[in-house]
């Protein structure tokens, strides 16, 4: 292994040291293989599927396209940070209840993306939801139950 680097990452509010990491490692790889945070998934590793979605400084990004070493100094939130005490978030709860989960490989990415969508737009139109989630591929559900879950959260948050 060449080009080893050492740096620190702030993930879900905790400080993590990353030591002797190959320079080319993506944030996704470091999360999964060095820090044991395997919730972010590795379906394409080219930014096309959204399974590895995380928030970096509040922005929804594909962690496979983030150079891990360059993420030092940012605040990273992964799917594991959205239900820290084990209680499901409203988005997670809705995805289960509405049947938005099948194989579930895309699910953590959708959880992060739907949180990001609804935090920025409390009541998206159906087409706004589609545009916001177009970067998250799902091969099992055909998206219908995922979109139903988004609607459920919108209703619940409306109160």
């Amino acid at each position: 292994m060449t080009g080893a680097v050492t740096y620190r990452l702030q993930i879900n509010g905790a400080d993590h040291a990353v030591e002797s990491s190959w320079l080319g490692e993506s944030l996704l790889y470091v999360l999964r293989e060095r820090l044991g945070l395997v919730g972010s998934k590795n379906a394409c590793e080219e930014g096309e599927c959204g399974s590895c979605s995380v928030l970096v400084d509040g922005r929804l990004v594909c962690s496979c396209l983030e150079l891990a070493a360059a993420a030092e100094g940012t605040e990273i939130i992964t799917v594991e940070g959205l239900s820290p005490d084990g209680t499901l978030s409203d988005v997670q709860e809705a995805l289960v209840a509405e049947g938005g989960v099948q194989c579930g490989f895309c699910t953590p990415g959708f959880v992060v993306a739907v949180h990001d969508l609804l935090d920025g737009n409390a009541s998206p139109s159906p087409l706004e939801t589609k545009e916001a989630l177009a970067g998250n591929l799902c091969r099992c559900t055909g998206y219908g139950r995922i979109e139903a879950a988004v609607e459920r959260v919108v209703e619940l948050r409306r109160g």
Binding site: T2, E45, L65, G73, E131, G135
Partner: protein
């Protein structure tokens, strides 16, 4: 894959990381611009916009920016997914110099000027001189794109992009059309239909002569299709796994025709 001893300049990194993940590139040193805030912003002075190379696609969707550069905003909106638009930058799009780079036809149509910096100082390069081939630029190894200068919108602007999917897709063909009502000028450029972005000078000149500039109307409705055909003739597409040259040329014809129709209503 030979290791490259020079530091790789990382803007958004969306193209770079795909190459690293698939072992087409092995970085040994990286200079990240992610937190260089002076590259992030944009500002208007007079009738020009200076766009920082680090401006992300998502930032171009803000309404203030969109008013000044509507075609660029529309092009940015067609880039990849929200995740990519949150990461990728206009400077990265220019430096990668892919003929399918979505903002590039707009920058060509606007005669964008790129400010490039190195320890030897700054230089300003017209975009069509900076990009010389597919993924090839005249950037020196130690040079960095700092900003891009474009005129503020002074008329209708359009960007249309064909993809085989309704979202998150690489352009099979794209057309940017920008109108400068003050100077009675049209800029039109094509994406994904040649080794670089293609500027449609003959079509532009033809249309400029036909337009009723006082009313921003097009008296002769046949000109729409003539314009489309001239743009198609200017294209130089290839067959690949994404489409055929024949369809791409046809697509340019349809898109350019529609772009001109959107920009100029028919009638005297």
């Amino acid at each position: 894959m030979a290791a490259d001893p020079r530091p790789q300049v990382l803007a958004g990194g969306t193209d770079f990381m795909v190459e690293v993940n698939y072992d087409h590139r092995r970085p040994t040193a990286v200079m990240s611009l992610r937190r260089v805030d002076e590259l992030r912003g944009w500002r208007r002075h007079g009738d020009r916009l200076t766009v920082g190379a680090g401006l992300r696609y998502v930032d171009m969707l803000e309404s203030e920016f969109e008013v000044s550069a509507p075609a660029l905003a529309q092009a940015a909106r067609t880039v990849g997914s929200p995740q990519i638009r949150n990461t990728g930058t206009i400077g990265g799009n220019v430096a990668t110099a892919s003929p399918a780079g979505d903002t590039l036809p707009v920058l060509y149509a606007l005669d964008a000027e790129v400010t490039v910096s190195s320890t030897r100082g700054d230089r300003v390069v017209p975009i069509q001189e900076l990009i010389v081939g597919p993924k090839r630029t005249t950037l020196a190894p130690d040079e960095l794109i700092v900003s891009i200068s474009i005129p503020v919108s002074k008329g209708p602007q359009e960007f249309l992009k064909i993809g085989v999917r309704n979202a998150m897709v690489i352009a099979v063909a794209s057309v940017a059309l920008v109108v400068d009502g003050d100077n009675r000028h049209i800029g039109c450029a094509l994406g994904s239909v040649g080794p670089t972005i293609i500027r449609c000078s003959e079509a532009e000149a033809m249309a400029e002569a036909e337009i009723d500039w006082d009313r921003l109307h097009l008296p002769d409705p046949r000109v729409y299709e003539t314009f489309g055909a001239m743009c198609a003739a200017a294209s130089s597409p290839i067959d690949d796994h994404r489409s055929t040259s024949r369809y791409r040329r046809h697509g340019v014809y349809v898109l350019a025709t529609r772009a001109l129709m959107r920009a100029f209503e028919p009638g005297a």
